[in-house]
Symmetry: C2
Subunit: 141 residues, 2 copies
DNA sequence: TATATCTGTATCAATATTAGTTACAAATAC
DNA sequence: GTATTTGTAACTAATATTGATACAGATATA
């Protein structure tokens, strides 16, 4: 399977929208920068819309724009908006409950999973979309 | 595809080996607790062996045991030993280089990726196998 | 009202990865 | 020499993601 790149796409899309200001931007235009199909963009935008990060408008001259300024959007909320699972997965099949380790390890791993996800969220929360965009612009300085 | 559960399997396997002390443990026995095929266990053990975490022996009465005490094995080194990629993936197709954002965003995302991976590693580094096992045993107290 | 445009979404194909299985060579204890 | 166990190759099945096509619904404008 292809690795899940929705977070990367979401950040790319939002960077484009931030540059577009208050104007509606078409999914086709964004797709031109991300180098993919407009439907793929609209799928990600749907999740970002549900999270209240962007606001879309159908019809002629429709499109999407940010629902709040880039300085008020953290990478953490973007990550959660498109979140596609955990950093590591638990057992694909439940372990053997007749073994004392098998019986208890899932709960311990689940606790650990939450700790890690929390750490990732904290780190991503240190960045706003605005300061990420500064980094993008500074890359070729 | 099934989500990657090799880290969970690795921790499970190492918990079993820790309980087994200095005795060689067979992949078939471990597979009984993890509830999977012995070959799946041996695949994970191969990676843990390359990382110097376990030591295996072929032949009759062979098997695998820890290469060092559980108090000297961190969850971070286990994660790195079986590491199967990053917390989030970069674009599946390269963005459009003719767009200033498309041209620079991959580098910025790559930097961010390393930051996140570092945060995950730091958090996992707070746990040794020994203290994780304490948690497993404490679950049903 | 009619038309053109754009989103939202369903559906399908292509691709990639993981888990699981079988099979067997190589190594080793007895 | 024999039985046992790892290491590894090869294959299947299941599943997730991306990408593509198609079309209904909404909306600005004439």
């Amino acid at each position: 399977m292809a690795a899940n790149s929705q977070f990367s796409m979401a950040v790319h899309i939002l960077t484009m929208l931030a540059k577009g200001g208050d104007e509606n931007m078409k999914s086709e235009y964004i797709a031109g920068s991300v180098n993919t199909n407009p439907v793929v963009i609209r799928r990600v935008l749907g999740q970002l819309g549900q999270a209240g990060i962007v606001s879309s408008q159908t019809g002629a001259f429709g499109g999407t724009r940010l629902a709040k300024p880039p300085s008020e959007i953290t990478l953490c909320e973007i990550y959660k908006a498109v979140s596609c699972g955990e950093v590591f997965a638990l057992h694909s099949k439940a372990p053997n409950k007749d073994c004392p380790i098998g019986a208890n390890i899932e709960a311990a791993l689940c606790y650990l999973q939450k700790e890690i996800d929390h750490a990732v969220g904290d780190k991503l929360g240190e960045y706003t979309l605005a300061c990420f965009i500064d980094k993008v612009c500074a890359v070729h300085v």
